[in-house]
């Protein structure tokens, strides 16, 4: 009998889009989108059990085996480096990890650059690759305020449309890396449930490919 896979989906708009992709690939569980307080949704016929998780926690659930697979943003994978397989780029939730600062900002190499960010590891690695000394100011939200109020020189944060930056007279200075949603798998689960996980992976990839081709 095929194994029922535990699948961690990120809560929010992206997660709902991701679920619809899974459903289109044949792994539906309609109760997932109902407005209810339930946490776990199962469809044994499709071999899936879904649960909603805080986006930044998906990788934890997968790494620790509570979920066999999940969908997490590349930003989370780069920041926390969980020991998981990154099986597919779902090409959803596209954005970019960028350096941003006030309009007209220029980096004066005489000073240690003050960088406000939620993504300490990404920022450290990026500036280490440039040999640039920085002072990291860890923040958890409203990162854009930091350069406006003089707390930092620049920020390292996710940029989607750039509207928030523009409306606050900030500019995107450098793109560090493109970000999108990724299908990840627990390494032990992949070893034992390879057929089931690969069925989901190939189903999703075929849909993504079709979607990409129809946009060409």
């Amino acid at each position: 009998m095929a194994q029922t896979l535990n699948i961690a989906l990120p809560k929010g708009r992206l997660g709902e889009k991701v679920y619809k992709l899974f459903a289109s690939a044949g792994f539906e569980c309609p109760a997932v989108l109902e407005d209810s307080r339930r946490l776990i949704f199962e469809n044994p016929e499709a071999g899936v059990r879904y649960f909603w998780v805080k986006p930044s926690d998906v990788a934890v659930y997968v790494e620790r085996g509570a979920a066999d697979i999940g969908v997490a943003g590349k930003d989370i994978l780069l920041e926390y480096s969980p020991d998981v397989y990154e099986l597919s780029d779902l090409k959803m939730g596209k954005c970019r990890m960028s350096v941003a600062g006030k309009a007209g900002f220029t980096d004066d190499l005489c000073y240690t650059l003050r960088v406000a960010t939620k993504f300490r590891n990404i920022a450290s690695r990026y500036y280490a690759s440039l040999g640039r000394e920085i002072d990291i100011i860890p923040l958890n939200g409203s990162i854009e305020l930091a350069p406006i109020l003089g707390l930092s020189d620049v920020i390292v944060d996710i940029v989607e449309t750039g509207t928030t930056l523009r409306e606050n007279d900030l500019r995107e200075l450098e793109v560090i890396v493109p970000i999108s949603a990724r299908l990840i798998a627990n390494k032990s689960s992949y070893g034992f449930y390879k057929n089931e996980i690969d069925a989901i992976r190939t189903g999703l990839e075929q849909l993504i490919q079709k979607g990409t081709n129809s946009n060409d």
């Binding site: 790494e63 620790r64 085996g65 509570a66 020991d83 998981v84 397989y85 990154e86 099986l87 597919s88 780029d89 798998a185 627990n186 390494k187 032990s188 689960s189 992949y190 070893g191 034992f192 390879k194």
Partner: protein, 370 residues
Amino acid sequence: MNETWSLSQEEELIFSIRTLFRQYGYTQYKMSRFEDYDLYARNKDFLVSDNVITFTDTNGALKALKPDVTLSIIRSLKDSAQSIQKLCYHENVYRVSGTSHTFSEIMQMGLECIGDIDTYCLTEVLFLAASSLKHISGDYLLVISHMGILEELLSLMHIPRELEKEALSLLAGKSVHGFEELLSKCGVSGHEAESFLRLPLLEGTAEEVIPVLREMGCSESSLTLLSRIWNSFTPEMNRHIRFDFSVIHDMRYYNGFVFKGFIRGIPSGILSGGQYDKLLQRMGKSGGAIGFALYLDLLERFFPPRDQGNVDALLLYDKEQEPSVVASAVRSLSSLGLKVLAARERPANLQCKQVFCIRDGGVQVYGTDT
């Protein structure tokens, strides 16, 4: 003997794996808890985590609470390129846990085969790795890769040195899309790229994997080695073994077979090992080495919990009672093979089969219970 006295499953497992190692001629290596910090500072990248607990000894020397066993074993051995030393160990190490990100004491069992190692030595260590996993559970998986073959393939793909680490990281993550971007960056395209793009997800039996590696241009000597190793396992074991090139260890230390072991129900790899001739050379020793470690702390929740806090007999006594009388009563109940708890009153949540008390200098049944 009453079943509550028997070894726990974990204790039995340790005993049986140690017996297995000894049956193959491995002798127990006992190490001290502390090591000169210098040993780890010079080989930081070999460690699972470069965070080490250090302290200053009474003589001013900087010491470390050992995060690793292999480095200590290599350091302590006489250089012996003409002979083979087979050692096994069962030790606690101290390092940052990969999941909790705090320091932990981790129980580790393992073995090292060091010196003039040959292909048989490689097959023996791999066999013992598979056997160790089988002792834990019949539902196991041993996945095997080869750093030399990976190095060969990276060279065939013309991946420059500065991108090798990224390439290996993408293979370790089975990231086909990431690997495709990297190949494109290195100017590999068309049919050649299509062939190499099979590598991130390539895994399976020798029959499945060898033809694909051959198409990629892997040398016949490498493929013959894979075939010989595969054929050295029993057919039953082969059902639990796969070649899988997502198993990657640091190329600066590991040159040959590298492998990981998994048990269904345990979310991370419980066994890790490889051939590390290069580490030996870095430490000024000649010859080769292969070994593996089993991370026993991961078994904590794998076995069903023992019946903690349950006894066969609760013996109630008064504070005024002569200790020798109480002791005699406990001994006489124990001699019947019972697990006995002597207490002045019944502890909360205790489960016991019978309750006794001391009356008129002797043991009397007070009542039965569950």
